[in-house]
Amino acid sequence: MRRLTLALVAVTLLAAGARETAAHHSFAPFNLEAEKTISGTIKKFDWTNPHTWIWIDVSGDNGKVETWGIEGMSPNYLGRRGWSKNSLKPGDKVSIVIRPMRDGSPGGMFVKATLADGRELRPTGQAVE
């Protein structure tokens, strides 16, 4: 089922012109076939162009904390779809679904986030007026 969903996402992105959806770069560094969920504490949220970056501290099994960098759509794009620079704040406990980096480094492309209060953040949706 998950594989089917991913396939549908990929087809939809291709149909929409995936390059343009990403705005300014290709998806090559990310594994679009994979999905990974990371949980931790927001360290910093870059509300910057050309992409937002979520920096999240994740505790490993050995207790060591590693900072992951998650690339999202631009503030311009997200800001018209209900997000703001305050959507994520340092200290927020959050779980984020990502397409991980192909090279295994601690990063990925944002899919969705769920906050401790159950609030969910997605990068898509109808633009608001």
Binding site: A16, E20, H24, K43, N49
Partner: protein
């Protein structure tokens, strides 16, 4: 003798006058006299393209919904070139390094653009990469030997309810389509037509005798968003994507504090 002296003086004076006005300013001064109140009032009679527009859901995206399914029809040389470029397996192009795509790609971005109408000119303020297009509608001809620009050089005219724009002179750093470089003969004609109170159709036709065997036409539909404003987009602000000289794409995850100072 006296008449010769007068002639020399007049010639020298003419040189001084000419030297004092850069060629471009001189052209602009000749082509664009100061707008009158009537010129401003005449704008109200034109199709109202003003405001902030974005490609709507299903409105075409970068490839154009109205694009022929097979894409541009290429000459044998251009087809061979595309095959050669595809075989390189480049993962990305220079937009990853914040170089704007230029025409025609800049008109297909998932960001809004604002149309401004002033006497003798339509200006398109493009949010993506903070770009701008200058379209002169004052009747001037296209230049004979234009400098090569990312957006070329554009002139427009009003044909009934449509704004028709012709553009020539594109930088070799821009592409006609993915893996399809253009020649110096590429021309782009765009027809901007209001199809509803807040919908705009842009039909784009690319011709290039060295690259295309037939005109390549795509159509996009844009929605007007009356409450939107154009936002800042400085690509270099925090760009962590890159493509290297061999076309390998990557992401810089180093030092989260580096680019924002926090």
């Amino acid at each position: 003798m006296r008449s010769t002296r007068i002639f020399v003086l007049a010639f020298a004076a003419a040189l001084v006058v000419l030297a004092d006005r850069p060629a471009t300013a001189q052209t602009a001064a000749q082509k664009s006299p100061p707008p009158t109140a009537a010129d401003w009032a005449a704008l109200a009679k034109l199709p109202d393209l003003t405001g902030v527009w974005e490609i709507g859901p299903g409105g075409g995206g970068g490839r154009g919904r109205g694009a022929a399914p097979q894409g541009p029809s290429l000459t044998p040389a251009a087809a061979a070139k595309r095959k050669e470029l595809q075989s390189l397996g480049r993962e990305d192009n220079q937009t990853a390094n914040c170089v704007p795509p230029g025409m025609p790609g800049i008109m297909g971005q998932p960001y809004p653009m604002e149309f401004l109408l002033t006497p003798g000119k339509v200006t398109i303020v493009i949010e993506a990469y903070t770009q701008v297009r200058h379209i002169y509608t004052d009747g001037r001809p296209l230049p004979e030997d234009p400098d090569l620009k990312f957006h070329g050089t554009s002139v427009g005219r009003w044909e009934g309810t449509a704004l028709v724009v012709d553009t020539i002179g594109f930088s070799p750093l821009t592409d006609l389509a993915a893996n399809v470089p253009h020649s110096d003969k590429m021309r782009i004609r765009e027809r901007f037509t209001l199809t509803g109170p807040d919908t705009l159709s842009i039909e784009t036709t690319v011709t290039d005798p060295d690259v295309l065997t037939a005109p390549y036409t795509t159509t996009r539909t844009l929605q007007r968003h009356r409450s939107w404003t154009i936002a800042e987009y400085v690509c270099q602000e925090n760009n962590r994507n890159f493509v290297d000289d061999k076309g390998k794409a990557g992401v810089r995850l180093d030092d989260p504090a580096k680019t924002t100072g926090k």
